[in-house]
C-alpha cells in the first residue's frame, strides 16, 4: 500500500507539473552515460526508469521537460549500490540540454547539465563544442596541430564556429604536447550542425576517450539566388560578332575609298 501511495503521489506530481505542449516541443533533453565500464540503472521515484544503461548510451528525456525526477539516482546495474545520488532533479521546461553522467576531476561519478548553444550558424560553418567530463586535470584541445582551446577543465565547455570540413583533433595535458590523452581523431564540421565532443573516462584507469552527439538544423540557407545581371537575347553569337566586325571594317574602307575618290 505504501508503494501505491508513492505511485499515486508521483502520478499527482507529474500531472501537476505537466507543462504546456508547446514548451514540451521546444525542449530537447538528452541523457548520456559517460562513465566507461560501468553499466547502471537510472532510478527515479523509487523505481528503475531505464536499466542496464551502458557507457555511451543516450536516452531522450525530452518528454519529461519541466518535470522533476524525484529522488534521481544512478545505481550500479542490478544492484542497490548508488553511484550518483542526485536527489530531486528538476528538468528544464524548454531549451536544449544534455545531461551526462561522468567522472569529476577527482574520479567521483556525478551528473553535469550542459545547455547546448542552438543559435543559428552562418552558412558554410559548423559548431564544435568540446566538454571536459573526464577524471583528468586541465587539457588543451588541438585542432590540426595547433591549440584551439587551452586550459579546459572538468566540467567545462568551450566552442567555436568553424568552416565546413574535417579537423584532426587531439587532447593533450594543458601546456604540453604529450602524452596525447585522446586522438588524433577526425571530427566532421558539417554545415549548420553542432558537434559536441565529450572527453570522458579516467586518466588514472587509462580509459579516457571521446563521446559525441550532434545537433542539426542550425544552419543558415542562402538568402537569394541571383542568376542574371543582363537581359536575355542580347547575346551576340561569335560568328555574328565576327561578321559584324568584317562589315564594319568593310564600311570604313568603303568610306575611305569614297573620300579618296572625292579627295
Amino acid at each position: 500500500m505504501k508503494k501505491f501511495i508513492t505511485l499515486l503521489t508521483a502520478a499527482l506530481v507529474m500531472a501537476a507539473l505537466a507543462v504546456p505542449v508547446s514548451a514540451q516541443e521546444e525542449a530537447r533533453i538528452h541523457l548520456i552515460h559517460g562513465i566507461p565500464d560501468t553499466p547502471v540503472d537510472v532510478v527515479a521515484g523509487g523505481d528503475v526508469v531505464f536499466g542496464d544503461f551502458q557507457f555511451g548510451d543516450t536516452q531522450d528525456l525530452s518528454a519529461l521537460a519541466g518535470e522533476t525526477l524525484v529522488g534521481l539516482q544512478v545505481r550500479l546495474a542490478g544492484t542497490e549500490t548508488v553511484a550518483i545520488d542526485a536527489g530531486d532533479t528538476p528538468l528544464p521546461a524548454s531549451g536544449n540540454y544534455t545531461i551526462i553522467a561522468h567522472l569529476d576531476e577527482a574520479g567521483t561519478p556525478t551528473l553535469a547539465v550542459f545547455e547546448n548553444d542552438t543559435s543559428s550558424i552562418d552558412a558554410g560553418e559548423g559548431r564544435l563544442i568540446v566538454r571536459h567530463t573526464a577524471q583528468a586535470p586541465a587539457v588543451d584541445v588541438k585542432a590540426n596541430g595547433a591549440v584551439a582551446f587551452a586550459g579546459l577543465t572538468n566540467p567545462n565547455s568551450v566552442q567555436a564556429d568553424l568552416p565546413v570540413g574535417t579537423i584532426s583533433a587531439e587532447v593533450v595535458p594543458a601546456g604540453a604536447d604529450e602524452p596525447v590523452v585522446i586522438g588524433p581523431v577526425d571530427l566532421p564540421i558539417d554545415d549548420g550542425s553542432a558537434l559536441i565532443v565529450y572527453a570522458v573516462g579516467s586518466l588514472d584507469a587509462g580509459s579516457v576517450t571521446a563521446l559525441t552527439e550532434s545537433i542539426t538544423g542550425l544552419g543558415t540557407a542562402p538568402t537569394a539566388v541571383n542568376t542574371g545581371n543582363s537581359p536575355v537575347g542580347t547575346s551576340i553569337p561569335a560568328w555574328a560578332a565576327g561578321l559584324g566586325a568584317l562589315l564594319l571594317v568593310g564600311a570604313v574602307s568603303t568610306r575611305r575609298s569614297l573620300f579618296g575618290v572625292r579627295g
Binding site: 500500500m1 508503494k3 501505491f4 505511485l7 499515486l8 508521483a10 502520478a11 507529474m14 500531472a15 505537466a18 507543462v19 505542449v21 514540451q24 538528452h30 540503472d41 521515484g45 523505481d47 528503475v48 526508469v49 531505464f50 536499466g51 542496464d52 551502458q54 557507457f55 548510451d57 543516450t58 536516452q59 531522450d60 518528454a63 519529461l64 552558412a123 558554410g124 565546413v164 577526425d186 566532421p188 554545415d191 549548420g192 565529450y198 571521446a210 559525441t212 552527439e213 542539426t216 538544423g217 544552419g219 543558415t220 540557407a221 542562402p222 538568402t223 537569394a224 539566388v225 541571383n226 542568376t227 542574371g228 545581371n229 543582363s230 537581359p231 536575355v232 537575347g233 542580347t234 547575346s235
Partner: protein, 226 residues
C-alpha cells in the same frame, strides 16, 4: 487489486483532463521501448480490442523516455561523390559543374555564364535533402547555360556526372516560377528529406535599374533507379 485501483485513478485523471497535456506524448505500449522493470500490461476491464493498453504506472516515466543509441563515435563516413557535370538533352544543356558557397551578402554564389554552381554546403545530388544546381540565365551580356531552363518540362531527364566517374539520372517532377522574395528556401536548401535535385535560374522581367530579374525559375527532379 492495487493495479486496478491505480488504473481507475489514472483513467479518472485522464477523463478529467489531468493528463490531457501529456496524452499526445504517451505512445501506445506496443510502440514503446521495453524497460527491465516494466510489469506486464494489465488488461483494463471492459476495454475493447484495439484500445492502447495501459500499463502499471511504475513504467510511466520509462514509457516517456526513449533510447537514442550510442554516443560512441563511429569512423567518419566516406565522402560522397560530388557533381562535376550536368546534361539536359531536352534543352541542349551540357556543362561543367563547379562547387560554390555563399557571397558575403548571404546570397548563393553563382559562377560565370557557362558554368553551373553546386551549393557545396547542401546535399550532393541523390543524397537526402535538396541538392542545388544554379546557373545564370544571362550574365554580362551573354546568355547563361540555364538560358532556357523555363522550357524544361515534367518528365524531362537530367543527368548528373560525379567526380568519381559515376553518373545518375533524374526525372523532372515539378517546375515552378517564384517571385525572388518568395523562393521557398526551406525546400530548396533542405538538408534532409527525400532526395531532390533542384535546378535554379532567374526569369520573369529584367529590372534594368537593379540589373536583376524579378523571379526565380526552378525545376525539381528526383533520382531514377540506375
Amino acid at each position: 487489486m492495487k493495479h486496478s485501483l491505480v488504473l481507475v485513478f489514472l483513467l479518472t485523471l485522464s477523463a478529467c483532463g489531468g493528463f490531457g497535456a501529456q496524452e499526445s506524448r504517451v505512445e501506445p505500449v506496443a510502440d514503446s521501448p521495453v524497460t527491465t522493470t516494466t510489469t506486464a500490461p494489465t488488461p483494463v476491464a471492459g476495454s475493447s480490442a484495439g484500445t492502447p493498453e495501459i500499463t502499471d504506472p511504475v513504467s510511466e516515466l520509462a514509457r516517456r523516455t526513449r533510447p537514442l543509441g550510442t554516443a560512441i563515435p563511429e569512423p567518419l563516413e566516406e565522402t560522397t561523390p560530388t557533381p562535376v557535370g550536368l546534361r539536359i538533352d531536352s534543352l541542349g544543356v551540357a556543362g561543367a559543374v563547379v562547387d560554390v558557397g555563399v557571397e558575403p551578402n548571404g546570397e548563393m554564389e553563382i559562377p560565370g555564364a557557362k558554368e553551373i554552381g553546386w551549393y557545396r554546403f547542401g546535399s550532393s545530388p541523390g543524397e537526402r535533402g535538396s541538392a542545388v544546381l544554379a546557373a545564370h540565365i544571362a550574365f554580362n551580356g551573354r546568355d547563361g547555360v540555364f538560358r532556357n531552363l523555363d522550357d524544361i518540362e515534367v518528365g524531362d531527364i537530367v543527368e548528373v556526372s560525379y567526380d568519381d566517374g559515376s553518373s545518375q539520372r533524374f526525372r523532372v517532377t515539378e517546375t515552378a516560377q517564384y517571385a525572388k522574395d518568395e523562393l521557398p528556401v526551406d525546400r530548396v536548401f533542405a538538408k534532409d528529406g527525400t532526395p531532390e535535385l533542384t535546378l535554379i535560374t532567374c526569369g520573369g522581367d529584367f529590372n534594368r535599374s537593379l540589373r536583376s530579374y524579378d523571379d526565380n525559375v526552378v525545376a525539381y527532379a528526383t533520382p531514377l533507379a540506375p
